[in-house]
């Protein structure tokens, strides 16, 4: 499998890009040239220079530093959202798919209800209900997305639950925990990895959207969506301030989307039509 991964150019390129971005975010204090929060009002809207490689924003803060520090909330929150979504969705999907009967009925009807709401409206409703904070944005995103995962995972589990090795386990009375964790979870793990990597892109956009609207990460924390929000007032006079976080979002989200496709090809060679 490693061999196949290394031969797949898109997979290698996107995974290394994402890893690189993550590393830059982790080591932000050593890489960023300036303090992202330090204002230098005299030098506001400064063009490229040695001190400020990408110029400064409306408060004279270093754009490059803000972008580098911005990786932390943007990527970190997106990954956190996906982890929450997968945990909740996988648990519900496993229970519904494996035990069937009334458990499945209850879970799937809740899922149907969740899926019948437009997702953006649900996010706004949850954030409005719980108050504006980063924590609530994550809760809102997990809340609308888990149903989707529960449904996907249930289908995967149902495919495997009647395979002979699961039937054997049930015949000899292997504990349910073992069947679920050792047989079923690994069987659906690759599908799950693909779905999750595709959806990290979605989570980034969603969190940035909420921050742009002022409902997510609050100023002065550097977050790419929030940076766009600050930049929109000076869009014509200082376009750099908007272009920098804008391009960063586009590149990272595209990388995640391409990575999802590439991982699917790597993990499941049957899907590739050649």
């Amino acid at each position: 499998m490693l061999q196949r991964f290394l031969h797949h150019k898109t997979a290698v390129a996107t995974v290394s890009l994402v890893l690189l971005v993550a590393l830059i975010g982790i080591f932000a204090p050593w890489i960023a040239p300036n303090d992202p929060l330090a204002t230098d009002i005299i030098n506001k809207f400064a063009p490229y220079s040695a001190e400020y490689p990408l110029g400064t924003d409306n408060l004279g803060r270093c754009l490059l530093s803000r972008m580098i520090y911005g990786i932390r909330p943007t990527l970190g929150l997106a990954v956190l959202t996906m982890l929450g979504t997968i945990c909740l969705g996988a648990l519900m999907g496993l229970l519904a798919g494996y035990f069937r009967g009334w458990i499945e009925e209850v879970i799937m009807r809740v899922v149907d209800v969740m899926l019948s709401f437009p997702s953006q409206v649900m996010v706004f409703a949850v954030v409005a209900l719980l108050g504006v904070s980063v924590q609530n944005v994550i809760i809102a995103n997990v809340f609308i997305k888990w149903a989707w995962y529960a449904r996907m995972i249930r289908t995967g589990v149902m495919q495997h639950r009647n395979s002979n090795y699961v039937l054997f386990s049930r015949c000899i009375g292997t504990p349910e925990r073992f069947v679920l964790l050792r047989h079923l979870v690994p069987s659906i793990a690759s599908d799950l990895a693909v779905l999750a990597s595709l959806d990290v892109g979605w989570a980034i956009i969603n969190i940035s959207t909420l921050s742009f609207l002022g409902l997510g990460v609050q100023a002065p924390t550097p977050e790419w969506g929030a940076m766009l929000n600050e930049a929109k007032n000076v869009m014509t006079s200082n376009p750099t301030q908007m272009i920098v976080p804008g391009i960063a979002i586009v590149v990272l989200v595209s990388a995640f989307n391409l990575m999802g496709d590439a991982l699917r090809d790597v993990l499941d060679p049957k899907e590739v039509s050649e």
Binding site: N164, Y165, R170, C171, I172, G173
Partner: protein, 263 residues
């Protein structure tokens, strides 16, 4: 002889895929009034063509499918009536399936495949077994080298993998093993090898076999009794030695087809 496991008037039906009405609940009956008994130490062949309900009967026998009517008795205790009954069946029964490609989890090493059976035995008897030693012993029992333990299922041939499945079935120290078409998907030569192995294991471990198949030759080779299943009904139950005296139409047809084939 006291039967070890007994099935009384089993009826099973499934909800039809195509319903005449929108919320229709018409059902298709698969098993009609099936009764059988399996004495300890015997080998019963359950013979039937495709769609005769023999695999469904196997599911009922190994505790996976609750019949609508009738009961399964294990030493006089009803299996589906209570949790204890089911537990008792799980502790004494093991199973080998037809399709060996899906019988073992493709992500498990052979060691772990057999390990699942060993773990079931440890749990039941409350003892700690030497894992490596036990795997080696079981592999040796089915005629495989110890080096197979570190391989994946797809790195084994069909016959080898079926032997692994038998080792796994034996690992949990059952008294009764159900073979659901366990040898049908192997070639003739391997079939004979596996059947010889099964005969030997039966003697050594004092096992009882239930053998589901569509292959009359295999039944005459292995079993003491044959039960003919035709369209969900038991048409005849007869000892193998008296097979020639059968009056049953389906059995006769099968017998003739074999004779034709050999002639």
């Amino acid at each position: 002889m006291i039967p070890m496991i007994e099935m009384q008037n089993i009826c099973v039906s499934f909800r039809s895929e195509q319903q005449e009405k929108v919320f229709g609940a018409s059902r298709k009956q698969v098993l009609f009034d099936v009764s059988l008994s399996l004495p300890k130490g015997s080998c019963l062949g359950i013979l039937g063509e495709s769609g005769s309900g023999k695999s469904t009967l196997g599911r009922v026998l190994c505790g996976l499918l609750k019949p609508e009517k009738g009961q399964v008795l294990l030493d006089g205790m009803s299996v589906y009536r209570s949790r204890q009954g089911k537990r008792a069946l799980q502790n004494r029964l093991s199973v080998v399936f037809q399709d060996y490609t899906t019988s073992a989890n493709p992500r498990f090493l052979i060691r772990d495949v057999i390990g699942e059976g060993i773990r079931a035995r440890q749990r039941r008897e409350g003892i700690a077994l030497n894992y490596e030693k036990e795997v080696t012993r079981l592999l040796d029992l089915v005629g495989l080298e110890a080096s197979f333990a570190g391989r994946f299922p797809h790195q084994l041939s069909g016959g080898q993998l079926q032997r692994v499945c038998i080792a796994r079935a034996v690992a949990c120290k059952p008294e009764l093993i159900l073979f659901d078409e366990a040898i049908s998907s192997l070639d003739t030569h391997t079939q004979v090898q596996i059947m010889d192995l099964l005969k030997e294991l039966k003697e050594r471990l004092d096992l009882t076999y239930a053998f589901i198949t569509h292959d009359l030759t295999a039944v005459t080779y292995m079993c003491d009794n044959v039960l003919f299943l035709y369209q969900g009904r038991v048409t005849e139950q007869i000892a193998v030695e008296r097979l020639a005296e059968t009056k049953d139409e389906y059995a006769l047809r099968l017998l003739h087809s074999i004779i034709d084939f050999e002639a």
